[in-house]
Each structure stands twice: as C-alpha cells, then as structure tokens.
Amino acid sequence: MKRTLSLAVAIAMAACMVLSLGVSALAEEKAYDKHLTISWAYAGISEGVDYEADAYGKYWADKFNVTFDIIPMTFDNWEERLRIWINSGDMPDVANWSFYQYGELVNYVDQELLYRLPDGWKDRWTNIASAQTYVPAAAMVEENMGGTYLLIRPVFSIHKPAEKLSYHTLLYMRKDWLTAVGAELKDTYTIDEVTDIARKIKAQDPGGLGGNLRPICIETTNMGGALPVNIFTHATQAPYYKDESGKYVWGPADPRTLEGLSIYKGWYDEGLQDPEFYTLEKSFGDQYRFYFEGNVGITTADGMAGRMRLFEIELAKIGLKYEDTVHIAQLVGNDGLYHHREQGNYWASQVFSPTIDQEKFERAMDVIDFSASLEGQEFINMGFKDVDWTVDESGAYANLLGETSLGEKYPSATAFFGGMLCLGDDFAFVSPGAAPEYRQAVSKFYALRDQLGKDPSTFLDIDWDIQYYSSPAMSQATMILADEYAKLILMDGDLEANWKNWVNEKMAVVQPVLDELNAKFAD
C-alpha cells in the first residue's frame, strides 16, 4: 500500500513537472509565437552579412522568433543619417544613436521624436535596468527628461577598472622599427619623445619603404585625442571650463592650444604625419594603414583586448607577428602626465522609433535584456557553452575555439550582436577569447593612467553643469574641433595668424555661450 502510494505520488509529481514544463514551454513559445521583423540601425558593422547564415545568428533569430532587418551605418555618417531619419519621422524601429550632444536629445524629446519607454519598464526588463545603473548619466538624463528615452550603453559594469575612468586609446608602435632606430621600449611616451622617434624612423627608414613610409599616421578625429590635447587638455576636452577666477572661458582660444597646434603642424610639415591623414576614414583609416599596408610607424587605436587581437589577426595576414611587430604605450604630455577628461562610462545608446509597434518594442527589449544578462553576455562574447567555451576546474572560463576567433567562426557574432547594450570591454577582462597578456595589458594601462592622472588640471573631472546644458546658442556654437584643428594645420600661411583669425571668427558664436554659462554657473 505504502509502495503503491509512493508510486502514485511519484507519478503525480512527475506529471505535474511535465505539465508545468509543458506549460512554461508553451508560455515561452506563446510569447514569441508571432514572427516579427525588427529594423535596427547599427553603426560600425559590415554590409552584406547574412545574420541567419551561421548558428550564432540563427540562435538569436530562433530564440526570439525575429528577423533582424539590419541597417548598417559607418562611423563617418551615422549621426547624419540618423538625424535625417529621426527628423523626417522615418526612423527604423531601433537605432544605435551616438548621443554625443545632450542638446540634441532635449530637442528630440521636446518634439516627441523618440519613443518614451513606459513607466515601470525597469521591473520587467531587469537586466537592462541593472546595466543602466553602471552609467551615472542614465539616471541624470532620465530625471532631466522626466522619463526614459534612450538606453545608454555602458562600457564597464562589474569589471570597471578604475574609479575615475580614463580614455583607453593607446599608441600602437612598430616594435621592430623602434628597436632598429634605437628607441627605448617603455610604457609611456611624451609628445616630444614620439616626435623624436618619428624623426628617427623617417631618417633611417628601417622598413625600407621609401616614399610609402608613414612615421606617424593618425587620422583627423584620433589626432584630436593626441594634439593639442596632450599640451592643453581643454583644447578639445571640455572646451568650456572655469578658469582660476571661476568664470567660464573657451579652451581653444588659450595660447596653450596654439602651442599644441604648433607641434601638430610640425609633424605635418616635417613629413612625420601621413600627408593625407585628413582623407582617412574616421576612427579606423589610420590603423588600417598600420596592419593592411604595414607602412606606419606609430598610430593610435583602442587600448582594449579585442583591438589588440584584431591587430594580431590582421598583421598575420601580411606576414607579421604581433609580438614582434607591435609595442603599445600610453601617450602623455611633455609634463609626463595623462591628459584627457574623465569618461562617463558609456558610449552611444539605443533609441526607439516613436511609432514603433508595441509588440516590436517589447520583443526588441527582450532581445536587449537577454544581451545584458550573464547568460547573454556569455553567449555574445564566447558563443555556445561546451562547444566554444567551458568552465574549467578553477571556475574560470576556458576557450574551446582554439586558434579561431568567435568572429571568424561565426561572422554574425562581430557584426551586430556584440555591443547591443553592454560593450564588450567589460567582459574582455574575463573572456578567454582574448589572450591573458592582452587582458593584463588593458588593466595595466588603466592603472597607469590612474597613476598619471592625479592632477585634476590635466585629467579633468566631468563638469555635469556643462555636460547636460543645452541652448540655441550652444547648438549654434557646435563644431568638431578635431576637424577645425586639421583645417588650421593644412592652411597656408602663418599658423599663429590663422589661429588668431579663427578664434576671432568663432568667438562670435562662442561668446553668447560663455555669457549664458557665466550667468548660470560662474562662481
């Protein structure tokens, strides 16, 4: 009897389990029983990739019963394209938006051009909500706007490498050439040291490249992070700032900016800098020359494990070994200090069309929420468990991909899903996809910048008053300083006279901004 009862209970329990499993499976299926196509504009990805052609892309499509209608954008034009779409009411369902200018967001919200996430969304999509807590700006923007209009993409979450976050760009230098010209291999180089090394490379031409040699190749935008900023931080970083008197002034008009520009012009005039740096594609054109053409001595690129791995892969294609060819280092000012502004721990955002269908919005949020979960992060960064990665005895992730990278095995992996919300920089600290030495290098340079950035006049704090200030005058004074400086460098005539004329011209639109800022925030 007792045995029969036990059997009956067991059968009943099993039946309940099966039933509950079935119900939950049914519920899950039911949640996605309708196939949806979601248009999604995304910057920095390749055109013509079939996102469902490999198992990785298919996993996403099947899991969420979605066809991703991907609209690739290049970093050269993504802001312009999105502006056209947003302002013409022709925005894709979801878009990866730069969110470089706060005033633009205010403008869009005011005009109801972006979708306002429903109140209480954080209770439903908890992984996204959690990811937003890593970005201080998210809460501020939400409070200022009176709701959530964008999901800001955090760079770091649980592996944030420093309290005050520095900018990770590093120098990528030809190690073999540095050795050949007798330059010391070290972790930091001042502007003057870089100039000196470039001169030696140009004079000795260790690669025997003749006219094709580019001792330095840094494209216009990246030059904005090298010069004049390493002489005077406010030249590009936080150009509106309070001087000693507590009044707001404009950094580009400071004589120290001219000092930095003189060095910049020297690089160009001496033939150290690529003679056509201004024609290179933004952000990547310079490093392409480094690893595709192999004719560049010094460039700058992301100081992240993924980028180092990319250099390794691409250099191998032209027969060069990363460990023999690349030396990474931090560029510092001639004062030996780190010059930049603190990073807000975010890069770009995801925004939704104001006319997005509710079902599509919820499905897109489910996709993003999964991407921000631990399971999603593991999948995004490492692929399929027990196929592409596993957990070893010590509890650490172990790579099963061998020599192949995730992107090589699944082209769709690097194309779209990678930075859906959380950027890969955080997971890179534990990902077995990147070699331990790369991960250690990233940590080392964050620590080094922390150490070299103790002076708040060179490693600036974020001025939140300015960061989230907008006005018509501020909009009219918007300019891309890196492009403006490149123009000055390439202009005929005396640099100082040209710079003075330029400052005088710009002050007509800058002065109204300074007047506003001083009226509101001056000490």
Partner: protein, 313 residues
Amino acid sequence: MTGSRRSPRGGLARLSRDIWKSRVIYMLVLPGLLWYALFVYAPMGGLTLAFKAYRANKGIMGSPWVGLANFQNVFRDPTFPKVIARTLWINLGRLCFEFPMPVLLALMLNEIRMPRCKKVMQTVMTFPNFLSWVVVSSVLTALLSMQGPLNSVIERLGGKAVPFLGNAKIFLPMLYVSSNWKSMGWSSIIYLAAIAGVDQEQYEAAEIDGASRMQRITRITLPNILPTVSVMLILAMGGIMSGGFDQIFNLSNAATKDVSEVLDIYIYRITFQSPPDFGFSMAISLFRSAVNLALLLIADRGAKMMGGSGLIG
C-alpha cells in the same frame, strides 16, 4: 489706339472660348499643372518655417512664429558672409570655365563629317553624366592620392609626390575640370539640337560664297544658337547661389574646407551635422532663393538690353 484696346471681360470671354474650343489639348496640360501645383507650389507653404521655430510634433503649421529671429541668427554667424562670397566666387568660375564648354563642344561635334564618328564621340562624351559624383569622386581620390597612379608617374619621372587632395589652390580647378568632364557632353545636347534647327541653305549659300569653316561657325552657327545660349545663361545666373552639392561634398576634406564650403554644404552642415534647426536652414534657403531670383531677373533684363531674347515677358 483706343480702338485696339479690349475690355478685360471681353478678353476673358475670348480666352474661355479658346480654351473650350481646344479643350482636348488643354486636358493634356492638366496633369502637368497638377504636378506643379502639388509638388512645386504646395510645398512652398514650408517656406513659413523661415519665420518659425519648427517643432516636429506640431508640424509646420502648428509651430510657433518667431518673426525674423532665424534671419538674425543667420547673419550673426560670422561664417555666413564668407560662405556667400565663396558660393558666388565658385559659381562665377563655373560661368566662366564651365558654361562655354558645352557650346564649344557642340560646335566641334557639329563639324565632324563622319556621322558614325560623330555619334560615337557624342555617346562617349555623354556617358560620364550618368555616373554619380560618389563614383567620380572615389575615382578621382584614388587617382590623385599620394600613392595614386598620377603621383607614381610623377615620382617615376623624378618628381616629388604632390598632395593634390589637400591643396586648397588645386581644389577649384579640380572642380571645374571634373565637372566639365562629367557634364559637358550632356549639356551640349541642347546646343546640338539648336544647331540641328539652323537652316541648311545658309551653309550652302556661305559655301558658294567661299566662306571658310571657321567663318561658317562664327557667322552662321553661333548667331543662330545665340538665343539658346542666352536662355541657358539666364537660367545659369538664376542658380548662381546654389548647385554643385554632390560634387563638392564628395571631393572636399578638412584641407579644402575653407575654399569648399558653399551655401549648400553650409545648409547641410547646419541641418544634419549638428543638432538640426530647420527654421535656421529654411531662413538661409529663402535668402538664397531670393538672391537667385534677383540675379535671374537682372540677367533677363541684361539679355534684353543687349538685344537678345529673355525668359520673362
């Protein structure tokens, strides 16, 4: 004198009668008129944006009026007068170096005796017009870059590579040369059509009188196509504050910004390369259209004063 005057009512009645009489022909004009009304005149309502602070959620009509504030902002920008001067300079250059080329080409093509050769030449010259400026500028950039074929030739001949793309002095000649290469053949079609309409007896008479080929060109062909040239010149004057966006946008870079930012590029930059301000952009566009209209009227009057035919009246 008084007898020749007609009362307006009589004229209207007569016009109505004429229209009714030829109603089938007038029906053919109707789609064109509708197209014009819908796509040319109706959108002109958007010009009110120049006097409004545009809000997408309120639409053009619902956006608040701001008077001349947008124009004040336009003229406060120190870049604006420079852009105007640059636009005029570049387009006057186009009138000098681009406008006469299709006329010359048409005259030369007309002198080719072998019809097959003439057709081939015309096709070859017309073809580049169908290439987009994106394609043409990519080819030019590759051709003129420091590592491009042109510089390779210069270096092989013992010279030093020239930064063509970064030389502001070369930018304008490059615009004119590339524009002529691309559009000259296409633009010459209208002059070839005008030449085709010249009475052949004039040529035969001139030949009998012993006129040389050059004399026939200068004394017969050119005077006969002058009305067409005059109309085309007036139209070109009407576009002197605009045009060339695709070409300049694709060929310019930071090095040439100071010689390449024309009004169209400026409007694009204000509208799409910074937080958009459609009122501001519209104010500039309206200003540009007003200047274009004024120049068109001046050119028209000038053509008439010189004894040519105008466009208006």
